[in-house]
């Protein structure tokens, strides 16, 4: 749980400090997914602390389902957002200001 909290903190710092939309999305997507996963699995272990009662087991299964769903959903949402940002001509940031990537990708013509 503490590790999950640490990842949330680093994701927030990255979200505030990075220069561009794409780098910010990188920071938040990874920190978000890993932080949620660690925290929810830690809570699922903590709900079993009264011993193996059926109540704790059902709650643990629900928490694991949240973790699995979010582990699948968060990269999907990030990918869709990145695709729509590229299609609406948002240029990625580079250090010297050159454009390195264009959308749609140019076909090589002979």
């Amino acid at each position: 749980m503490i590790a999950g909290l640490f990842f949330f903190m680093t994701a927030t710092i990255g979200f505030l400090r990075f220069p561009d939309f794409y780098t910010r999305m990188h920071a938040t997507a990874k920190g978000d997914t890993l932080g949620t996963l660690l925290f929810v699995v830690g809570l699922a272990l903590y709900t079993l602390h009264h011993g193996l009662h059926w109540f704790g087991i059902v709650n643990g299964i629900k928490l694991i389902s949240i973790a699995v769903f979010w582990f699948l959903a968060s990269p999907t949402a990030t990918h869709a957002l990145l695709r729509s940002a590229l299609e609406s001509d948002l240029v990625p940031w580079t250090k010297d200001g050159k454009v390195m990537l264009t959308w749609p990708p140019k076909r090589k013509t002979k």
Binding site: M1, M25, T28, L43, W70, A85, L90
Partner: protein, 88 residues
């Protein structure tokens, strides 16, 4: 152990405020969308911690699951909507 969950909730509230700054003053639309999704994710964790503090984890788990599904669908639909609306 309740003190630990209270501390976690307070720390997450601080990070929610920090990312609300980027969500409000973000230069592009997509920054605001990421900010909304990020705040939603942290709200799930805050809901789970509140459930452990109030000792009603069975109810708050269902709330958190519904909230995560809603957050995912919302991010997908908004990102599809803003494709050709212009980024700046």
């Amino acid at each position: 152990m309740e003190g630990f969950f209270l501390a976690v909730t307070l720390a997450l509230c601080v990070t929610i405020l920090l990312s609300l700054y980027r969500g409000v003053f973000g230069p592009t639309v997509f920054d605001r969308i990421i900010g909304a999704g990020f705040i939603g994710t942290k709200t799930i964790i805050v809901l789970l911690c509140m459930g452990l503090i109030y000792d009603r984890i069975d109810m708050f788990i269902d709330l958190a699951l519904a909230y995560s599904i809603l957050n995912f669908i919302g991010t997908l639909i908004v990102s599809k909507y803003f494709i050709r609306k212009g980024a700046r």
